[in-house]
Subunit: 215 residues, 2 copies
C-alpha cells in the first residue's frame, strides 16, 4: 500500500492568447496506470494536463495547463507520496516571449525563440528523499534504449519506461522497463490496461516494498 | 435547401513527430452549426480537424489534421456546395522546417521559423462562383470589429462572424454578424446552440435564397 503521484497527459505552452505548443498525449496511459495502481490497493493523486479521458473516481485529480503548473503541483504532491510515476508528456519547450495579444499575420515569417521548460520528472528525481522512488517515461523516435538509459541516470529515476511515438494517442503500447542499472527487466506489449497492470506489478515488486506500511 | 460546407475545429502543425502547434478550438461551434443547418433542412459536409465533439449522424464528416489537408478537403468539397461556413480555427503558422526525428533537448534555446499556412476561408472566397457564398469567422483579441471588417473584405466573404477568445473551448459565444458591407446586422449572445440557430437563420435569409432549389 503506497501513496503514488501519477503525472498524466500533455501540457500547453501558449505563444499568445490563442496559439500554443503541445503534443498528442491523450492521458490514456496515465489513466490506465491510475486504475491499475488503485486496483493494486494504492492511493493515487493524478496531476493531469488537459485531456478527455476519465480518471477513476477513487483518484484525486489536480488539473493543470502549463508545464510550470504541472511542476508546482507535482512537487507539492510528491512531498506526501511514497513514489511518483511520470506518465505525462509535459511540453518541454516554451516561447521565450509570450504575446498578450493575438499575433496578427503579416505575410512575413515569424521568428520564435523557444526555451526549455523545467523537467518535472528530473525535479522529482532530484528531490526524492530516502525510500521515495520515481519512475520515468522516455518517448524517443531514435536510439530508444540508449536515450532511455541516459534519461534514467540524468533524471535520477529508479525505473524507466521506454516507448516510441506510436504510443501517443493510441490504445496500445509497446514498452521496455529498465531498472536503475539500465538493465531491461521487462518487455511489455498490449493494450494500455494490460501494460499498466504489468508496470504496476513490477513497480510494486521493485519499489513499493521499500515504503510498505503495516495495515 | 442548400448544400453547405462547414469547416470545424483546430488543425495541427507538427515541428517533429511529437510536438505541434495548435489552438484550443473544440469544434463545438462547428458541431452546433452543423446541427442547426441540418435542422433547417440543409445538407452538410463537415471538414474537421482533431476534436472530441460528436457531429450529427446526418452530416458527412471528413477528418483532417493539418491546415493543408483542411484546405484540400474544403476546396474539393466546395465545388459541389452552395456555400461554406468557416467555423474552423486552422493553425495559421507552420514551421518552415519539420524534423523527421524528435528534436532532442540540448539546454540551448531553439530557434523556430514559422511561416503562414494557406488561408482556407480566403481560398474559398477567391474561388467562389456566381451564387456561391462564404461565411467567415474572425477571432480577435483587439480591435475586433475593425479587424473583422478587414478580413471580410480581404477574404471575399459574404458575411463575417466576429467573436473573441472567450469563445474558444466554451459552451457560450458572443458574436457580431457583419454583412458584406461591414454593417453589423445582428448581435447574438448565448450558448453555442442558440448562436448557431440564429446564425443559420440569418445565413438562410441573406444567402441561401440565392441558391434555393425547388423541392
Amino acid at each position: 500500500m503506497a501513496r503514488i503521484l501519477i503525472t498524466s497527459g500533455p501540457t500547453r505552452q501558449y505563444l499568445d492568447p490563442v496559439r500554443y505548443l503541445t503534443n498528442a498525449s491523450s492521458g490514456r496511459m496515465g489513466a490506465a496506470l491510475t486504475r491499475a495502481a488503485i486496483d493494486a490497493g494504492h492511493d493515487v493523486v493524478v496531476v493531469s494536463g488537459p485531456v478527455n479521458v476519465e480518471y477513476p473516481a477513487a483518484a484525486t485529480v489536480i488539473p493543470v495547463v502549463t508545464t510550470d503548473e504541472m511542476l508546482a503541483a507535482a512537487v507539492e504532491t510528491f512531498g506526501s507520496c511514497d513514489g511518483a510515476i511520470g506518465a505525462a508528456a509535459p511540453c518541454d519547450y516554451m516561447p521565450r516571449l509570450v504575446s498578450s495579444q493575438k499575433i496578427a499575420k503579416t505575410g512575413e515569417p515569424l521568428q520564435l525563440e523557444l526555451i526549455e521548460t523545467a523537467d518535472v520528472v528530473a525535479t522529482l528525481g532530484q528531490r526524492k528523499r530516502d525510500n521515495q522512488w520515481v519512475v520515468g517515461f522516455a518517448l524517443e523516435t531514435e536510439d530508444r534504449r540508449f536515450r532511455a538509459t541516459v534519461k534514467l541516470e540524468s533524471k535520477h529515476c529508479d525505473l524507466m519506461v521506454s516507448n516510441g511515438p506510436q504510443a501517443i494517442d493510441s490504445n496500445q503500447n509497446d514498452v521496455e522497463l529498465l531498472d536503475a542499472g539500465g538493465r531491461v527487466i521487462a518487455e511489455i506489449h498490449g493494450d494500455k490496461d494490460f501494460v499498466a497492470d504489468e508496470l504496476v506489478r513490477h513497480i510494486s515488486e521493485q519499489l513499493t516494498h521499500r515504503t510498505a506500511k503495516p495495515q
